[in-house]
Amino acid sequence: MSDSPPLLDVRDLAVAFDTDGGTVRAVNGVAYGLREGETLGIVGESGSGKSVHVLAMLGLVPRPPGRITGGQVLFQGRDLLALPERHLRRVRGAEIGMVFQDPMSSLNPAMTVGAQIAEPLRLHRGLDGRSARARARDLLDLVRIPDAARRLDHYPHEFSGGQRQRVMIAIGLACRPKLLIADEATTALDVTVQAEIIALVQDLKREIGMAIIWITHDLGVVAGIADTVQVMYAGRIVERGPVEAVFSDPRNAYTLGLLRSLPDLTRGRAGRRRLRQIEGSPPDMRFSPPGDPFAPRNPFATPRCRIEAPPLAQVAGSVPGHLAAAWYDLPALLAQGAGR
C-alpha cells in the first residue's frame, strides 16, 4: 500500500461476549488498514463480527457482557482502545461519524430533526443554537432534502425512510469526519431508495473526501460503492482485496459461495445458471474447534483445513493487496471441475 501511515490501522482486534452458555468469541484477530479517502466494503453474514468489530473500535460494545480481549485500533496514530471514555467521546461523531441500519429507530422520535443534526456540532464544535441551526440547514441541503429551512423543525415521523437515512448521514457528516462508518445503512430501505442513498454517499464522498467503511451483507452494494472489499466469516477476515480482483478471482470458498448465491444479470439468457446456496449454517461461536471455521460447510476443504486455521496471506497470481485465508488453491480446484 502507500507510504503514508493509514488513517485507520486495526491490529489483531478480538472481542468476546460472556454469556450464560459460555464465551462467544465474536471477533478473532481482525487486522486491516484503511487509507484516507478509501472506501472499504465489509461483507459477511449475521454474526460474522462485521458490526461488532466497528462498535468495539468506538467503545460502543456494552461491557459487560462484551469484552475487548486484544488488539489495537490506531486511528491517526492514536490507539482508540487505550483512550479513556472521555477522550473517545471526542472522537465519536467528530472524527468518526456513524450511520446505523434502521433509520426508523435510530432517530430520536421526541426531538426535531434540526436539533438532532445540530447536536454533534454543539457537542464537538461548541456552536451556539443559531449557528448550529444554520449549519444543520446546510447539512440538510447537502443530503438533498428539499425545503431544508422548514424541515428542520419537523419530527422524524414526518420523514420517509429514505429521508430519515439522509438525516442520519447528515448527522454522521456534521463535523466533517475523516471516517464515516455505515452499518447496514441501506439494508432496511427499498431497493430504489437504496440506490438513491448510495448515489448520495458517492456524491458526498467526492465533495468531502472522507474514508468510508460500508458494512453490508449485500455484495451488489459493495460492488457499487467500495474500492476494497473485505469478507468476514466467524469473526475473521477470510478474503480481502480490490473489488475487481476479489469479485473476478475469489480465492476463498466462502467468498465464492457468496458470489455464486447472487444472480448475474450481465450474462444474459445464455449464461443463466442455478443460484447456489451455501450449505449448512454458521458455526456456534461459543466453541472454536481448531481449523478453518468454514471447513465443515466447504466442499473444497482439505484435511489440513480441519486441523489448522489458514492465515490471511497475499494471493499468488493476483494483484498486490489481494489477501485470502485458504489452504486450498481455489482456481485450480475449479479448473478441475470440483464444487460444480
Binding site: 461523531g93 435510530s106 426531538m111
Partner: protein
Amino acid sequence: MSEADLSTPAAVAAPVAALPPEPGALRAFWRRFSRRRGALAGLVIVVLLGILALGAEWIAPFDPTATDWGAVRAAPDPTHLFGTDEVGRDVLSRIVFGTRASLGAGLTSVALAVALGLPLGMLAGYAGGVVDGAIMRLTDALLAIPFLILAIALAAFLGPSLTNAMVAIGLSATSIFVRLTRAQVQAVAAEEFVEAARAIGNPPWRIALRHILPNIVPAILVQATLTIAAAIIAEASLSFLGLGQQPPEPSWGSMLNTAKNFLDQAPWMAIWPGVSIFLAVLAFNLVGDGLRDALDPRERR
C-alpha cells in the same frame, strides 16, 4: 370548533389534508385527544373544578365556615342551593372551598411523588448495578404496603393537617413513579437512537436528560393524571378519618364524616360531597385514559 369540523365529514377532510402537512405535535395530539368524548368530558370537569378551586372566594355564595343557627340542616332551597349542615353552614360554599383542598392535595402530592420518583427511577434505570438494587429493594418494600394504609400511617405519624396529608400521600405514591420511570428508562435506553446518540459523542448525563427523559414524559404524564385521582380519594379518606383537613376548614372527606351521622335527616350533607369526589376522580381518570390513548401510538409509528 375547527378541530371538530376536521374529524367529521370526509368531503371536508380531503382538501384539508391537501394543505401543507403542518400539524405540529401539539395540534396532532389535541386532535387525537378531543376525538374521545370521555376524555373531553373529563377535561371539561377538571377545568370547571380548577375554576372553582381558584375562584372559590368569588364563586361561593357564603363564607364556608360561617354558622347560622337559624338554618341548621336546612333542606336545599333557593338561598342554600345544596342545603346547610349541622351547624348551619352553606353546603354549596363548603363544596366549592373543598375543591381547593381536594385538587390542591391531588396536585401537590403527585407533584411531590414525581419530583422524588422520577430522579430516583432514572438513576435506577440508567445507572443499574448496586444503585438500582438499593433503590428498587426500597421501592419493593414500600409497594408491599397498600397505598392508603401507608398514607394513613404516615399521616398519623406526621400529625393531622392538610399539608401533612399531602406529604403522606406524596411519599406513598413515590414508589409508583420510581418503578414506572425505571421500566421506561430501561425500555428507551435499549432503543437504537440511544446508541446513535452515544455514537455522536454524547456524555451519559446528556443522553439521560436530552434523549431518554423526553421520551418517557408521556408515560409519566399519564400515570401522574391517574395518580391524581387516587390522591384525591386518599385525601378524602384521610380527612374523613380526621387526619387531613382540620375543622372548621372544609374538605369533602370531613364533610362526609359529619354527614354520616345525619344520613336520615339531612342526606344532602352526604350526597354533594360524595358526588363531588365521584366527579373529580372520574374526571381525572377519564383525562388520564384519554392522554394514554392520544400519546401512545405516536411513539411507535
